[in-house]
């Protein structure tokens, strides 16, 4: 062990290979994990827990009428889902109408969404200015609305406060009571701020004049229970619609799990790729250790001879060199882990990338270092242990 301290610079240079290897493994895995997590968060932002129920396609005399053409979903389905599905946290009916919103001389084509008060929770949105509509406004089909930022910009101008103003949508006056937070474009490039939100009762009765709902948005208790929620909703809605066991559903249930798994697998491949590149540098570091250990064995042949002459057994010599290489790789590993974490932080803050260093990748790198120490130290140590003391003592 003293041998390492005797040759500090060399020990450090040897460790450098491992340090860089481990640091890059940590940083690369951190970048991979970070991108995976940020994709997950983006999808969760769209509502990862989201489970959607849309009507099935209408079929008359064998002719299909396209998706979601049936008028089978009702408010009562929403109530049943909320009471009968333990995996569902919140549910909102949705009715939609497109049209021109008008304020004063300005107008803007947008969509009017009719929802209930759970909308904010289900879609993970918030009201930045003003308030959400109340239960009373919902039950009385009050003509109140909230606006997305895009609509505010186009009807009132940038930065203006529309709360308290009255706009018209398809000639129906709505009192603006709040403004929604800005969410920007979603993954598919749709502007999530280009909407007007109103109680679904208002949209049903006063705008569209319908009694059914176009879809039901529900939120599962967490992202893992979306599948359970889907099953429970299916059973509940089938019961509600009195569908026989032999008949097909008159509705379709969608969730985001598939989307998520696609994105996850992409970023998993990315992580593996980055990790493999970093792993190669770790391997190179290990070979560096092996090389130095070989040099060290040759250089210290006489010392080995002496140690054997005064009673060191082959095993003692093996252990000595193995300990040195393991010590080198573990010390290098620890420094590498610290450096990797620091590098991740720096990359994360300067490039603005989300970087997540998992404890598991730290433990993994540490374990790999130990294995490298044993593996690459073994052959030089064996060489040292198998020397003949007489030859070793005479070695020049």
């Amino acid at each position: 062990m003293n041998a390492l301290l005797r040759n500090k610079l060399r020990a450090f240079l040897t460790m450098l290979g491992i340090i860089i290897g481990v640091a890059s493994v940590i940083a690369m895995l951190g970048i991979g994990q970070g991108s995976k997590l940020s994709i997950q968060q983006q999808i969760a932002g769209m509502g990862l827990n989201l489970v959607t129920v849309v009507p099935g396609s209408q079929q008359r005399g064998g002719v299909q009428f396209g998706a979601s053409t049936m008028q089978s979903l009702k408010e009562t389905d929403v109530a049943a889902i909320l009471s009968d599905c333990p995996a569902v946290l919140a549910a909102s009916p949705e009715v939609r109408g497109n049209g021109q919103a008008v304020f004063g001389a300005l107008n803007w084509p947008t969509s009017l969404y009719g929802e209930n008060e759970s909308y904010l929770q289900i879609r993970e949105r918030s009201v930045t200015n003003g308030r959400m509509f109340t239960d009373r406004e919902l039950s009385s089909a009050a003509k109140v609305c909230l606006m997305g930022q895009t609509v505010v910009k186009n009807l009132f101008g940038e930065g203006a406060d529309p709360v308290g103003q009255v706009i018209r949508f398809k000639k129906i006056p709505f009192l603006v009571i709040g403004v929604l937070d800005s969410k920007g474009l979603n993954t598919f490039g749709q502007d999530q701020d280009d909407l007007i939100l109103a109680p679904y009762t208002t949209v049903q009765k006063r705008v569209l004049a319908i009694t059914w709902v176009q879809s039901i948005y529900t939120s599962a208790v967490d992202s893992k229970s979306t599948a359970d929620a889907a099953t429970q909703i299916e059973e509940t809605v089938r019961r509600q619609h009195k569908i026989k066991a032999s008949d097909q559903d008159d509705f379709t249930i969608r969730n985001q799990t598939e989307l998520l798994s696609t994105f996850s697998s992409v970023s998993n491949i990315l992580t593996i790729l980055l990790g493999a590149i970093a792993g190669i540098s770790l391997l190179v570091g290990g070979i560096g250790i092996m090389n130095i250990m070989y040099v060290s064995v040759t250089e210290r042949t006489r010392e080995i001879g002496l140690r054997m002459a005064i009673g060191g057994k082959g095993f003692d010599i093996l252990l000595q060199f193995l300990t040195e290489s393991i010590l080198l790789s573990i010390t290098g590993g620890i420094i590498g882990i610290l450096l990797g974490i620091a590098a991740s932080k720096i990359i994360g803050s300067t490039m603005g990338w989300p970087i997540v260093v998992l404890p598991s990748s730290e433990i993994l790198s540490f374990a790999v270092c130990t294995v490298i120490g044993v593996f690459f130290g073994w052959y030089p140590a064996r060489k040292a242990a198998s020397l003949d003391p007489i030859d070793a003592l005479r070695y020049e």
């Binding site: 054997m308 005064i310 009673g311 082959g314």
Partner: protein, 246 residues
């Protein structure tokens, strides 16, 4: 008197390629407890091979070697290591101290391979070994801060630390000037007077005269064996050499 080393009809062959080298061709030899034996001989006479075998670094091809009552021919490599650690002390021509390691740590080294010696005892024994060679004030010096003679004394302290039955010295004065050589020999004589058995290989006749008995090798056999009649007292010799003579 107790026989510490008993060698019976010992032969040693080396195989270099297809050629067989008969390094030792039948040696009978006894070293008793308390003796100071100098082995002499020209290069290639087999004296180094003899010392390697006495030192349990090598095994004989034929014949018997009994060290302190133990026959070594049946022992394994590990057993031999243990035997070297317990019963033998080595002093080399080139000192073979660990570089950049202080004198005390160098002397402790043999005890590190003896699991029955605890840390505290190890340090105590190393210190007293260094004291017995007169280097108690150089314990924390590294080899490159010591003179050749001092380095060899550290090596002698190292050979003493495990309290061996025999000290084996291979040309221990070979790298030293005359004066320092006699200093080292004086130390050996002092140890011998205290009862240590010493086997010493040298090719300098004057140095050999410091011993009690000389064995001269030639062509793998013992040429002559004789008690030293006019034994040199190294201390007196030392006094007769003027300091500036070197």
């Amino acid at each position: 008197m107790k026989k510490l080393i008993e060698i019976i009809k010992l032969k040693k062959d080396y195989y270099v390629g297809e050629v067989t080298v008969h390094a030792l061709r039948g040696v009978d030899m006894v070293v008793n407890e308390g003796e100071f034996v100098a082995i002499m001989g020209a290069s290639g006479s087999g004296k180094s091979t003899m010392l390697n075998i006495i030192g349990c670094l090598d095994k004989p091809t034929e014949g018997e070697y009994i060290l302190d009552g133990i026959s070594i021919s049946s022992l394994s490599k590990n057993d031999l290591s243990g035997l070297r650690n317990q019963k033998l002390g080595f002093v080399f021509q080139t000192y073979n101290l660990l570089p950049r390691t202080n004198a005390l740590d160098n002397v402790e080294l043999p005890l590190l391979y003896n699991k029955t010696v605890k840390t505290k005892e190890r340090i105590e024994r190393a210190k007293s070994a260094l004291e017995s060679v007169g280097l108690s004030d150089r314990m924390h010096h590294k080899p490159n801060q010591l003179s050749g003679g001092q380095q060899q004394r550290v090596a002698i302290a190292r050979s003493l630390v495990n309290d061996p039955v025999v000290i084996l010295a291979d040309e221990a004065t070979g790298n030293l000037d005359t004066r320092t050589s006699y200093e080292i020999m004086a130390l050996f004589q002092e140890l011998n007077n205290k009862g240590k058995t010493i086997v010493f290989v040298t090719h300098e006749p004057d140095i050999a005269r410091c011993a009690t008995r000389n064995i001269i090798f030639k062509d793998g056999v013992i040429l002559r064996e004789s008690e030293v009649k006019d034994r040199i007292n190294a201390l007196e010799m030392l006094a007769s050499i003027p300091l500036e003579a070197d």
